[in-house]
Amino acid sequence: MRHLLATEGLTYDDALTILDTAEEMAAVTSREVKKLPTLRGRTVVNLFYEDSTRTRVSFEAAAKRLSADVVNFSAKGSSVSKGESLKDTVQTLDAMGADAIVIRHSAAGAAAQLAASDWSEAAVVNAGDGTHEHPTQALLDALTLRRDWHAAHRGSGSSTSPRGTDLAGMRVLIVGDILHSRVARSNLWLLRTLGAEVHFAAPATLLPLGVESWPVTVHYSLDQALAAAPDAVMMLRVQAERMGGAFFPTAAEYTRRWGLTDERLATVADLTLGETQSPALILHPGPMNRGVEISAAAADAPQTRITEQVTNGVAVRMAVLHLLLTGDHA
């Protein structure tokens, strides 16, 4: 791997390598010295053209745990607001000696363009490009799902580590604004690669054109989708900032039809991971709109993995930076 741009096209072997590496990176967080010397002297630039606190902080924490130097560049209050192009910004950062560029941009394909260009020699990590992809989010979701899926299915005596396992047979339901969600797209491709079955549940106005040709089962009712007994329910954020038009009448109606309310939480609480006794999981990429797409009770339920997702995010990003910045291509 030279860059990480998308989960569409990411091979099964590469996905498992990232997840297995992340599993060991997670152990660093629990030890006395929470730092590895691996990327000492390397520079990681966070180039963020869109607001994001959690993804940027997660990448920053990941780079710092690997001893890399981190430069944060956000478009607000920078030369970009004076009209500088992406190319000029990147060449400036390259001249400062960036070894990896983590880019978030509102335009789909921005990361791919940067990787394909000769503007910089740096490894490129896509941290979200428009409504296209957000690969590290899907990888951290997969890491979270895999750990529970493995723990529920392993027999007594088999390894406690989920290394080398995938999500074969798992059924994951993604609910909400699929249209604007790069998280849904990245998850679809990665979960399929790992052997899981993916379901979408969304109002017709929030489904992308041509979704019927994707390898996914679409439900136009959340209650029907839950009746199909998913092993995990991933609630997407209602992205008010991407909604120019009227996609649904009111927030209250959205909650009533598409929210994980207290009543629906009771339905989810009866679901299990496959044929096991372990409870089905609830995920959310954050930040949550409590009371809109997810009720407070659902957000804090015992089968909810939202804080684990945040922790796993750092581990996955450490793994990605390690794999991209070490090896003979570096």
Binding site: E24, P37, T38, R163
Partner: protein
């Protein structure tokens, strides 16, 4: 077992077992017992070797609890050649429940060559705590050190040329029968 003309067996399964038995006795003698002793295998082949040493120590000194004194120390992220060799997936690190602060830690690996793995292991160990003493036990010392590092306990010294390769084949890692275990040198 037959090999091509370029491969020679330098240790067979009984030799490996005898070497480990002797190392276990050496450790007990040097430590005057097993008080505060922990055994850390360096993945991958150091881990099963450490487990076998632990079992032998327990049979020599019943006071040695191999359950709480055995561990694995992965050094992948501490290597000094990360920029030039292919990226590797780290192996699990598991520390002995007895803890490493103030302990006598014996690092175990299969082959001692340049000494760079041991250098990385010392760095990794320092990030987990501060043992009172660190020792090194290896099954094979093939020479050609590039750093001022030496082993305290050696199963067998095998003089080699740099272009030769030494391979240790163990049941747990290589999926062979315990009786078929061996150390071979390829020219």
């Amino acid at each position: 077992m037959s090999h091509s003309s370029e491969t020679a067996q330098v240790m067979a399964a009984p030799d490996i077992d005898r070497a480990l038995t002797r190392i276990a006795h050496e450790i007990v003698e040097a430590q005057r017992g097993t008080e505060g002793l922990i055994i850390l295998g360096i993945p991958r082949r150091g881990v099963p070797l450490a487990q076998r040493l632990g079992a032998k120590l327990a049979s020599i000194d019943p006071g040695f609890d191999s359950e709480s004194s055995l561990g694995a120390l992965d050094i992948t992220m501490y290597r000094d050649d990360l920029r030039t060799t292919a990226a590797r997936t780290p192996e699990p690190t598991s520390l002995p429940t007895a803890g490493i602060d103030g302990a006598t830690a014996v690092l175990v690996d299969d082959v001692l060559y340049s000494g760079r793995t041991v250098r990385a292991a010392l760095d990794a160990l320092a990030d987990y705590g501060r043992p009172a003493v660190v020792r090194l036990a290896v099954l094979v010392d093939r020479g050609h050190r590039e750093l001022p590092i030496r082993a305290d306990h050696v199963g067998k010294n095998i003089p080699t040329a740099r272009h030769e390769r030494v391979a240790v084949r163990l049941a747990e890692i290589d999926g062979i029968a315990r009786e078929a275990e061996e150390v071979v040198i390829t020219r």
